[in-house]
């Protein structure tokens, strides 16, 4: 899948709500399939999936330009797909194949696509927050109107890098949007066990920047919130903290069955499933006709099936790749 395809996927998500819906369906199906591949023993290592958080991913991708650099976490497949990366390059990385976005030497936690604005995703909690501020510094110093986006979890709001990164961005008035995907859990711990306040958006007040709570299950609201915060950033208004309230449907990582969740919690969140509610809205607005959603499901399934075949036909990462790119040539 060439560059044109990736850019086209990005444009589609930016331009069209139905395309956003389709991308959300793709992310869900992709993550389900990744879990399946692990369960079948066809993938090595670990993985962190983001079912339930699709609306945050498309919100970011629809609002940002490819020249706005994004930092995000090991739970990054959905954001990568939303930004325009293809299932082939992400699955290829997860499966350690040459076709992977990093040549298969990095694995599920480390996606990257420079053209689409995705810096190498971070497996150390909080690290991407000040790095996003640094990308914003470049835009500020060079006088471009690009902005940066730092995506992280609720658990990351308790690490020093969060506080240092927000404070620095605030005092230097950097064009950056901090997006906290509050999916209610950090690993196996519910947020209330690790964090004394309910709304992480409140933390913005101590850095004198806006902190806005967003319904992370509604892709119209996520797009709008990220767009508005990016407009502020581009026009010299400084950073914003967006707290996207969302929910992690799966366990933390491959091995986790999430048995620590209180009964009924998943079901309550699933009632507001971002894909189901968006589909109903598009149908009621007449943007999806009867049968359209089924057609999308089929198209996505076929696309994924083809992607898996392509990836499985791709050779494993090479020893050359392991020794390549350690240092940039002088």
């Amino acid at each position: 899948m060439g560059d044109a395809d990736r850019m086209e996927r990005r444009r589609a998500v930016a331009a069209d709500r139905v395309a956003r819906y389709e991308r959300m369906v793709e992310i869900r199906a992709f993550e389900d399939r990744v879990q399946g591949l692990f369960a079948e023993g066809r993938v090595h290592g670990t993985t962190h999936t983001a079912q339930g958080q699709e609306a945050v991913a498309v919100g970011i991708a629809a609002a940002a330009r490819p020249t706005d650099l994004v930092t995000c976490t090991y739970r990054g497949h959905g954001i990568g797909l939303a930004l325009g990366m293809t299932p082939e390059v992400i699955l290829g990385e997860i499966m350690g194949r040459e076709i992977g976005c990093v040549g298969g030497i990095a694995g599920s936690m480390h996606l990257c696509d420079r053209e689409l604005g995705l810096l190498p995703t971070f497996a150390i909690i909080g690290a991407g927050i000040p790095v996003a501020a640094g990308a914003a510094l470049t835009a500020q110093v060079r006088g471009t109107d690009d902005a940066a986006i730092g995506v992280f979890g609720d658990g990351a709001a308790n690490i020093g890098a969060f506080h240092e990164g927000l404070n620095l961005a605030a005092i230097w008035n950097l064009p950056v949007v901090f997006i906290c995907e509050n999916n209610q859990y950090g690993e196996y711990s519910r947020i209330d066990l690790t964090t004394p306040i309910e709304d992480l958006a409140d933390r913005a007040a101590s850095y004198g920047i806006p902190g806005i709570i967003v319904d992370g299950q509604d892709p119209d609201q996520t797009v709008e919130a990220v767009s508005a915060a990016l407009d502020v950033a581009r026009s010299g208004g400084g950073p914003t903290l967006l707290e996207m309230k969302t929910y992690r449907y799966a366990g933390h990582s491959r091995a986790d069955k999430a048995e620590y969740r209180p009964e009924g919690e998943f079901e309550r969140w699933y009632e507001r499933d971002p894909i189901n509610t968006f589909r109903a809205r598009l149908e009621s607005e007449g943007l999806l006709a009867a049968g359209d959603a089924d057609g999308i499901d089929e198209r996505v399934a076929a696309r994924l099936k083809a992607a898996i075949e392509v990836v499985e036909a791709s050779p494993p990462a090479t020893v050359d790749a392991m020794f390549g790119n350690i240092y940039a040539p002088v």
Partner: protein, 339 residues
């Protein structure tokens, strides 16, 4: 003796220390309710309660700093760093604070804290979750550091680490957590810090290893008919058993070091330099270090296996050393790769 997995041996050591000393407390991410991401503290919350066994937020600098303060004021905290890389955000507390308290107080304060961290490659976690990073701590006098090689070593070294009046870093190869072995518990199972352990007798060469490489070195030694290797588990990296290693190498005349970390600046570099100087003129071959290449740990299964020394490769390297009397090139140099 009880048969157990290494993660269970860690939990047993923690439990025994907590039973004997009410000042021992345990904290870290998901160590209490979940019993530890690698089940190394299973059952502790149930037995000792939420005052002594605590889950922390993702705040490594914060909770290691608390360990320093708690240790200086009388407790014996054991803090868990889930993957050694996460110590990077909190290194100050260990290297620059804990390791200096005794010195900076003219001995008035001690800092009897233990930092446990899982290390190493082999499980497909990628380059930010597979390093060993022992050299982050090895250049900081005031710290001690051990590396576990199996269930008994886990039980015995961890108990000593907790009892020691100094800050001790315990490095736990993640790939070994599930491995079983017989463990002597209680006072007889405690392994003193600073002593290497001979795990195999042999006459032609002394192989010094640590952590996950002890098993690799042993398998490599078992595989050869042509020479007999003595295998040593270094156990304590700081302060390492200089006299024990030197006297072993003096007997065999040859030293091979097997490390699970990049070639440059490994712990074995120190051993090679020291033994080379002490035994100059007595060695029958150059000191040989068998390590990983200087590359980030790759993800793919085959590449990751390639990355780490394996028994076949170690046997082959030692063969070449004994046959030619020269240190062979590592595999990557043999393939014309520069790293």
């Amino acid at each position: 003796m009880v048969r157990m997995r290494m993660n269970q041996a860690v939990a047993a050591a923690l439990g025994d220390e907590m039973r004997e000393d009410p000042d021992v407390v345990v904290f870290g991410e998901d160590v209490a309710v979940a019993g530890g991401p690698f089940k190394t503290s299973d059952g502790l919350l149930e037995e000792f309660g939420p005052s002594r066994v605590r889950d922390t937020p993702i705040s490594e600098m914060g909770f290691l700093g608390m360990a320093v303060g708690a240790a200086a004021s009388g407790l014996r905290p054991v803090a868990e760093i889930m993957f050694i890389e996460f110590l990077g955000v909190a290194l100050d507390m260990v290297v620059t604070e804990a390791g200096k308290f005794h010195f900076l107080s003219r001995g008035a304060f001690t800092c009897p804290m233990t930092v446990r961290a899982s290390i190493g490659a082999g499980l497909g976690f990628g380059c930010q979750h597979s390093q060993t990073m022992e050299n982050w701590m090895s250049h900081a006098p005031g710290l001690k550091m051990v590396m576990l090689s199996g269930p008994q070593s886990a039980y015995g070294l961890l108990r000593s680490a907790i009892r020691d009046p100094n800050p001790v870093v315990v490095l736990e190869p993640r790939a070994l957590y599930g491995g079983r072995g017989q463990v002597t518990t209680g006072a007889d199972g405690i392994i003193p810090l600073g002593e290497a352990r001979r795990v195999r007798e042999g006459d032609d060469v002394t192989v010094v290893s640590a952590g996950a490489m002890v098993k690799v070195a042993l398998a490599a030694a078992e595989a050869s008919q042509d020479w007999s290797a003595e295998v040593i588990d270094l156990q304590t990296l700081i302060p390492w058993d200089r006299d024990g290693v030197v006297s072993a190498v003096r007997r065999t005349g040859r030293l091979v070091i097997v490390e699970e970390s990049p070639y440059t600046s490994g712990w074995g570099t120190e051993i090679a330099a020291y033994v080379g100087a002490r035994l100059f003129g007595e060695l029958r071959a150059p000191v040989l270090r068998i390590t990983c290449p200087d590359v980030p740990v790759p993800f793919g299964r085959e590449l990751e296996q390639r990355y780490m020394p394996n028994p076949g490769y170690v046997t082959d390297q030692i063969d070449q050393l004994l046959v030619t009397g020269r240190a062979p090139d590592p595999w990557w140099v043999g393939e014309g790769r520069s790293a």
